[in-house]
Amino acid sequence: MNTSAASQNIHEQIIALLPRLRRFARNLTRDPHDADDILQIALERALTRLDQWQREARLDSWMFKIVRNAWIDEVRSRGRRAKIFLAEEMGADVGVDTADKQATLMSVQAAMLRLPEQQREAVSLVLIEGLPYQEAADVLDVPIGTLTSRLARGREELQALLGPEETA
């Protein structure tokens, strides 16, 4: 087996995953610049650990986990610096722009920003990135029961923030 060709193939697969990894990183960090920074760190780490990836494992889950660990390390090393919530700003636009699609878009994102971290991670992996419960639980290093209860609470919270679906 030509290993350099194989690893090149993984590089291409990871490149194809970049938009999703980036979206996950943004939901994790709530800051697009932080998201790109930790994504870069995660990609560099992934490249040095390609031999640890087992082919039967899902590449996306493996990458999500590396991204998340990169973020945890980053938060630890800098101490959690206070972040000014974009949430208020983004929420403020919702009432003004009633062009429905735009408003929905903003409010869904603003609502996500307000979720506590653990719920946000669970919602992000399962409902946005589409991972099965078990995969998401593995990424977060928690038992599946913990994942489902975080997911349930996150959903409740989002329902409360978003209100009933408007029928446009």
Binding site: I15, R20, R22, K101, S107, R155
Partner: protein
């Protein structure tokens, strides 16, 4: 018997085993409230999906793709062809600027790839081989009567009608970003499925989509058929960066532009 909300959630997410699923289905038949709660879970997922779909079409910064393409030989793009085209384009732009000078108040060194008929024949040859399997048997790119390369067939259809937020993963054509170029035209980047990955930029000129850039990456190992992925080569992203006026279109902007058949805004 009441069913916990967590169970209904798992049902909505397709995570229950057969027995549990049957129990929920039975409860749904008895109690319309159960169906309503499940529908609410599904609607929330759909709202989140819709709200975060647009982020997938944003171009990924080059510094990120560069990490993975760091090895010089990592990808064999037809960058050389494009560089030739870029040089030819620069010469053409200079010539055009000289002509325009008396009519307008100054040279507008706008980078128009449309007239770069010099996009190397090698790329087109690659297309001909790569697209033997296109349904109509015709290339999705051809030469218009006026000279420049234009999109036709399914590529033209996708450019005119496909919204970035609504495209199927397995579509023949994947639209990357839509934006208003400094030239005042709407442009869209695209990737074609095939045995090699072909990406490019097309800009709406009158009733045609002119191909402003085209790259093709060497076929992967074994020449397997690849779907049109959202990853776009750095050189295409760089060109978008150079050409773009403001921000990429969001889904509302795309819908509006489509409604006006991608004609330049007033």
């Amino acid at each position: 018997m009441t069913i916990s909300d967590e169970t209904l959630m798992a049902f909505a997410d397709g995570e229950l085993d057969e027995a549990a699923r049957a129990a929920v289905e039975a409860a749904m038949r008895e109690d319309p409230e159960v169906s309503k709660r499940i529908a609410r879970h599904r609607a929330l997922r759909a709202r989140l999906q819709a709200g975060f779909a647009a982020e997938l079409s944003e171009p990924v910064p080059e510094r990120l793709t560069a990490v993975l393409r760091g090895v010089p030989s990592a990808t064999a793009s037809n960058v050389v062809d494009l560089q030739n085209a870029r040089a030819a384009m620069a010469r053409a732009a200079q010539a055009r600027a000289a002509k325009v000078r008396d009519g307008e108040d100054g040279p507008r060194a706008k980078a128009s790839w449309g007239t770069a008929g010099s996009i190397a024949a090698g790329v087109l040859l690659g297309l001909a081989i790569g697209y033997g399997m296109w349904s109509q048997g015709s290339l999705p790119i051809g030469r218009s009567a006026a000279g420049p390369l234009v999109a036709n067939g399914s590529l033209a259809g996708a450019l005119s009608h496909q919204l970035t937020t609504e495209q199927a993963g397995a579509a023949e054509v994947h639209i990357g970003v839509s934006y208003l170029a400094k030239s005042g035209e709407y442009c869209r980047s695209f990737t074609l499925a095939g045995t090699a990955t072909t990406s490019g930029i097309a800009c709406r000129h009158a009733a045609e989509w002119q191909i402003h850039a085209l790259t093709q990456e060497a076929a992967p190992e074994g020449g397997a058929y690849r779907t049109a992925t959202s990853a776009q080569p750095p050189i295409i992203l760089k060109m978008i960066e150079d050409q773009i006026q403001g921000e990429p279109l969001d889904s509302a902007g795309e819908s509006a532009a489509r409604q006006h058949e991608w004609q330049p805004p007033k």
